[in-house]
Symmetry: C2
Subunit: 602 residues, 2 copies
């Protein structure tokens, strides 16, 4: 019997000291609960992704030094007898074949810490280089599979292998080598960002790979926000036959603990290094180490935050939790204490304010009401209603005096009093007010644009797009409504006041930058638009495919042009939490200068 | 004797029709000058880089269709007897080994067009995935070396091989296979972006690879701007012994033509496909084709823009040409007709205006003078002086009325009347004015920030950083002065009025956002700062290295923190032409949320 803990913790990029502290702290908890093995996420020591920090020699050296420091500290605190597997940034000491990369190039590595030492290390074999990932830019692949023989309870020994994240997602490699090595357990540190529906894919993957490896599989994932990525935890433990043994919570730090019945290592089999065909055109060397029996492990603290199963979140709950986590961690990890946003009375700013209040507390959320001469009465009423429901700090600053001041100076230079330029001017005056109040008090400015607007360019650069973080930038308008309804229903279920005024949800959307303006003056109904955007943006369909999929040909042409033409705006938009398969950001990288126009099918 | 032409043309990303037209047009010129072989740049048919367009199936199919269209059109216009080598976007029909990428994944390819057909194609073997390049994201590597046997003048035949761009930069691969194939000439389409000093590196490279391949080498590079990249042409032709035979102009379309004395192909050697060890751990298949004798090639037009050698540009002339090219093509390729910028009387906006006037003509450049109450008399005088010297459109819009209007509304909300927030407010009012005038007339807004400011965050988000393109964003302040002096001297040399007022160059720099404010109040002298930034940003030195390199320790700590803290601002800055080894953009990708602080050396 082997008790194992998966520590799904919230690491911070670059904070080596803080992340080291996390490893020690959560190992202590795991030890207190009787676990003999603790698995931490991929690159937990450096945070993930470190991007070009991986190319800075001083940072790589600091990561390696910090790893040795953690090993020594664990031992000094009486935790040297726990087998700790943790991800970190290393460098390859020899020349990697076929990469052209120099000796000393960085690696996405994992280490086994035991008895105060870094016992064995390995590096990720399969490097992801698609979607939000750019790992060929940074890392050389690893070509070893470490297998450590751990003295388990009852005098037997078990063989445990280590792979890293993408090593599960691609065929062959460490999983194949694990079967050849005859390991009883494969532990896998991960930093796998959240996407809607990805949890099911991950579970299927773990089940399949456990069967292929012929070993139990322990999948430990990070939690927390890092710029546009949100890690959702949801760590998984499956038996060799694919049976689910334990599963962590989503978006929360936790220790997922379970007892494994594993086949004992064959004592007659001499642990020796061995190269094997990894089934993917490469050779992997199985590197075996045998651990000494541990010293006595002191009983330290109780196993807080420990469990085997947590309730699963529904789809809207999961998305909402991702957005809240993204905002909370962007604020905290960048050392902000408060956020500010413009509240219009519409649904986008209402949902953004609610997410912010849930993330950092309503007492840290400042809203600015900036009515223009085209703002309707209900807008102001709805905004004030939300402020009262949630207890936010609010200030009202009418923009007409500033808009008029610009008008007076600009009209002689030929500036028109109505039309798009005049509408943009109003939005930009609001942007200046927000930034001014942010500068004066140190608030983070939150933008309130949704994905449908961002896609079509239905926003004003430096106006409503001004800000440091965009909580709903990856949320299509139809999902904005769904999340708002869900959040209100959730409040009612708990006997609390629904945070969002029903009228903000129910009324037809309007930018209110011109008299009687409605979104539908410039855009198709959002149900129609979002379905088309999903096919064009997320599925990368060409015009012919879009029409074949049933979208209106004239609309396809118009919307595709709007999306293409708005690329320059998106480039200057702040980051926001990715929740979809393809966000505007690291996932989708198109040139601004781009004359490609999808041909009309004949 | 074989006459060859390298056509260094200006392709536009996504413009398949326009780029196809370029190929036909320049082949016609080459034929008119008697060339038998014409080499176009890498991905000339699609433009480069196409980024995620490569992942859109409809675009890949359109590229392949366009290639066949060009082959047919060349033949229809009587040019079927010219061997045309051109780059395009293809897809791999079989499964590439060891990539995990699906059948049909895109390739960065080159084709030989002859006799109205696509005779042979191949794909880039070495994919760059560093600096500004992300090719592992898009392409699967090629593993063939096409060698075509061309009937040359005098009845002999010559063997010509094709490689692509990065295939020269890495050891082994197509260059090694070329030697094994015994080809007399290696032609290489390129899309190699400009960097200061890169031209010397490229020449050395061509000389070295020609010797290794045992073949003459024809290096055809693209020209023109594409978002933040500028291609400088500078095509190179070297003999098998490394002797320089011809070299194209920098930043200009041209046909580089030379006559080559090449060893004849061995008629006894049966042209058959043959796999060879490429010396980089892979196998490359040499794919041989023999071309039929050409039909008669009609004399069509004279060889315009043709030559063997052009005068080389000095360092400042080269940098200046890159900036002008970047602005010109961003404007033209995005279908702008004019640009607008804020003119302060300082050197940054003076140089930016001059670059813009040189790029698109002074009649298309609009400047706005926006004095504040802190603007000095000389600022307005210097700005007006520049307007007069260059004949730009100018309008003056004082910002005090708008700043006061904001002040009146914001002061009750606790907004301070002086200090950084008040300074930023002034900059943002200017941003709003510029954007308003741009929206009303369709001008492209140019930002005027330099690299030193961008590095240290010495700028206001949505204020002076507002705009669509940043001509000098990769130019450190000390180089801003050098380029300004050079441009004035160049004018004097040509007997023209120096475009930049001497006082704008000579006076100490100031943002003029507070009374008596000087840049040196917040920043070290620019000579000191730029040297430090060069080591930290471009060379990625850590703190210890920076101090060891002789920089003041206190200044190192301060500047490193300024640079790290300004990452969020740089993310929202518009693109601008890359001229350095590491620009703020595709070259340098750091997280915003980043707690890494370089340790002070003990």
């Amino acid at each position: 019997m082997l008790r194992i803990a998966l520590a799904q913790v919230n690491a911070t990029v670059g904070d080596l000291d803080g992340n080291a502290e996390l490893i020690v702290e959560w190992t202590r908890r795991a030890a207190g609960g009787g676990s003999r093995v603790v698995v931490f996420p991929e690159m937990v020591l450096t945070g993930y992704p470190v991007e070009d920090l991986a190319l800075r020699a001083s940072f790589v050296e600091a990561s390696i030094a910090a790893l040795h420091g953690v090993a020594a500290r664990l031992d000094a605190e009486g935790l040297g007898g726990i087998a700790v597997v943790a991800g970190y940034l290393d460098r390859r000491k020899d020349l990697a074949p076929r990469t052209g990369l120099p000796i000393g190039a960085p690696q996405d590595a994992a280490a086994l810490l035991y008895g105060g030492r870094v016992v064995v290390t390995s590096a990720k074999h399969h490097l992801p280089n698609y979607g939000v990932f750019d790992e060929f830019r940074y890392f050389v692949p690893g070509d070893t599979l470490p297998v450590f023989r751990l003295p388990a309870d009852g005098g037997e020994e078990v063989d445990i292998a280590i792979a890293i994240c993408e090593d599960l997602w691609q065929d062959g490699g460490p999983v194949a080598a694990c079967r050849r090595a005859g390991a009883a357990l494969l532990v896998v540190p991960n930093a796998s960002p959240y996407e809607r529906g990805k949890d099911d894919v991950r579970l299927d993957l773990c089940v399949r790979r456990a069967r292929e490896a012929g070993a139990a599989l322990a999948y430990a994932n990070m939690i927390g926000g890092q710029d546009e990525l949100v890690f959702d935890g949801d760590s998984i433990l499956v038996a060799a036959d694919g049976a689910l043994l334990a599963r962590g919570p989503q978006f929360e730090e936790a220790l997922v603990v379970a007892d494994l019945d594993l086949p004992a290592a064959d004592p007659g089999r001499t642990p020796a290094d061995q190269p094997v065909d990894a089934g993917d055109g490469t050779t992997i060397t199985i590197r075996r180490v045998t651990l000494a029996p541990p010293p006595e492990i002191p009983e330290i603290v109780g196993p807080e935050g420990t469990g085997m199963f947590w309730p699963r979140l529904s789809d809207p709950a999961e998305v909402y939790a991702a957005l809240v986590t993204g905002v909370r961690d962007y604020v905290a990890k960048n050392r902000f204490r408060s956020a500010i946003l413009a509240l219009s009375g519409g649904i986008d700013s209402a949902l953004t304010a609610t997410i912010a209040a849930d993330a950092i507390g309503p007492g840290n959320v400042y809203v600015v009401l900036m009515p223009s001469r085209y703002s309707s009465d209900h807008s102001v009423i709805d905004a004030e209603d939300l402020v009262k429901r949630q207890g936010l700090h609010a200030v009202t600053i009418p923009i007409a005096p500033m808009v008029d001041a610009f008008g007076q100076e600009l009209t002689p230079a030929g500036f028109p009093e109505t039309g798009l330029p005049a509408e943009n001017l109003q939005a930009r005056v609001r942007g200046v007010v927000l930034m001014a109040l942010s500068n004066a008090a140190g608030h983070l400015v939150l933008t309130t644009g949704n994905k449908s607007e961002l896609a079509t360019g239905y926003s004003t650069l430096y106006g409503d797009s001004a800000g440091g973080f965009g909580p709903i930038k990856d949320v299509p308008k139809t999902l904005v409504w769904e999340l708002s309804r869900w959040r209100n229903a959730e409040a009612e279920r708990q006997g609390a006041t629904p945070p969002i005024p029903e009228n903000s949800i129910a009324k037809p959307p309007s930018a209110e930058l011109a008299p009687g303006q409605m979104d539908t003056d410039s855009l198709p109904p959002y149900e129609v638009l979002d379905a088309l955007l999903d096919d064009y943006v997320e599925k990368d369909m060409g015009t012919a495919e879009l029409i074949a999929a049933g979208h209106d040909p004239a609309l396809v042409e118009r919307v595709v042009r709007m999306v293409d033409a708005a690329e320059y705006k998106r480039r200057q938009y702040p980051p926001g939490p990715k929740i979809s398969q393809k966000n505007f950001g690291r996932d989708r990288r198109l040139p601004i200068t781009n004359r490609w126009r999808e041909p009309r099918p004949s």
